[in-house]
Symmetry: C2
Amino acid sequence: MEGDAGMPVGPSDRTPSVRNNADLFSPVSVGRISEVIVEQMRLLIREGKLVPGDRLPSERSLCERFGVSRVTVREALRVLEAGGLVEIRVGARGGAFVTQPSSERIGEGLAQLMTLTAMTASDVTEARMVFELGILPLVVERATEDDIADLRVLVEQGLSALESGSYTMAMSAAFHVRVASSTHNPAIEMLVHSFHGPMLMSLQQAQVAAPLMGPRGAHEHFELVEAIEQRDVERARAIMTRHLQRTADRLAEDRDPSLADLGSGQ
Amino acid sequence: MEGDAGMPVGPSDRTPSVRNNADLFSPVSVGRISEVIVEQMRLLIREGKLVPGDRLPSERSLCERFGVSRVTVREALRVLEAGGLVEIRVGARGGAFVTQPSSERIGEGLAQLMTLTAMTASDVTEARMVFELGILPLVVERATEDDIADLRVLVEQGLSALESGSYTMAMSAAFHVRVASSTHNPAIEMLVHSFHGPMLMSLQQAQVAAPLMGPRGAHEHFELVEAIEQRDVERARAIMTRHLQRTADRLAEDRDPSLADLGSGQ
DNA sequence: ATGAGCTAATGGTCTGATGGTTTGCTACTA
DNA sequence: TAGTAGCAAACCATCAGACCATTAGCTCAT
């Protein structure tokens, strides 16, 4: 990455004889064949020619169609799979199936890379606060009866799980995501979802999950639903602020650990 | 190497006599070998045993170390590359190099999947409004002189590009991202980055980019920087609201196209 | 009916070989 | 001496053909 930072990047530094037409020539590299295949597949999926659930031809068929070897096709499939665009099943009737892109899946990839970036749990929490507070007006305005009913169920489940000591961060996350989905905006829902993924993963591994979300948190969930039902933006905002702030404080007092540290169990 | 991978590892698939303890046995699948390698590499990177810039051993060396064939190693490298963890260079002194994960890269993945979800441009714009407005207090509070200087430069560039008719959406995006990065929170920066990815891509293809961002937009950028410099949250918020609202209106009158439709040029 | 066994389809992996690209060195030329 | 052309080595990219493991569906005897 750094070693070649000083390398000749421009095409115009050797051979001082002919030089003025240097930028006439465009790079001729066609790149990797597998990359071309990947791009072609991606296009098909984006254009809707391939929809979730569809099965791609078998590796061997693809070889013939593209006129390449199996290795190349397989590399393309690996890339698509890593990108969460297809799922590969083995055995008869197996093959590559186009997947339904879920926000969960996106969050997964996000979480992976987050553990590698200089991104602390506090950073993520701060972003959450901005976002989850910001959407409250939309939630209060648009939440339907169904939305509220669902939220009630989640709260109930949370409370009873709390009694039996089986309350998990996942349940809290589900609640927050359901709140976000009450905006009826898929982009917002996806983002909240993706944010909870990495938080969950790291917090659970660090075993601060249990004390993090106690009876207070569950009760605040209950209050929030009430505020939404009464279309009381200010109250909802106050509750959510308190709720998230407590998470933030908890994180701060816990040595402000970076996600990476948490991830490695240190 | 593989010959014994298929040996009877699980004692639990024949002998139909015992049956009620079915869930005692965990699935015996070892999965893909390449996946194991990927996981191992990821761990090394996360633990800091491999830092950005490091060069991994050559494919052939890795084959020997892992005791697998080159095909398998290559598939692992493809996955790592697709995940943005390594970069592969050909030729002498080539090989796989650990990359510095940037928020840009992360946002890319998010953007990719955004374009595949049933998500309209309005949805994304609404999410943007929530987020970019929400971070303004943080920006105003934390922007350093360097931040503001950078923003000024971007505004200047925008204005002169406007005169020469070469103003692009990319320039606008760069400005918004730079504003976000003035929060000094990498998570926030990443999110704004990923928002602009899909917007850019689709809007440019649909050729509504040019009229979208006229002199008004560029001037609003200028005003916003002023408000930030004066630490005037309310004014900044007002400007940004107007700025984004205009984008939203423009999108709304433009048949409210979905990102997917735009992507395919329809 | 039920279950055991067969079969074909399909992905997972290995082996060995060839070609292309880049770097660095060397020898030759002006 | 300087510059250049050419060679060699270290890489990745790709191919071709083979074998094994897993799975779904079918058949057939019990």
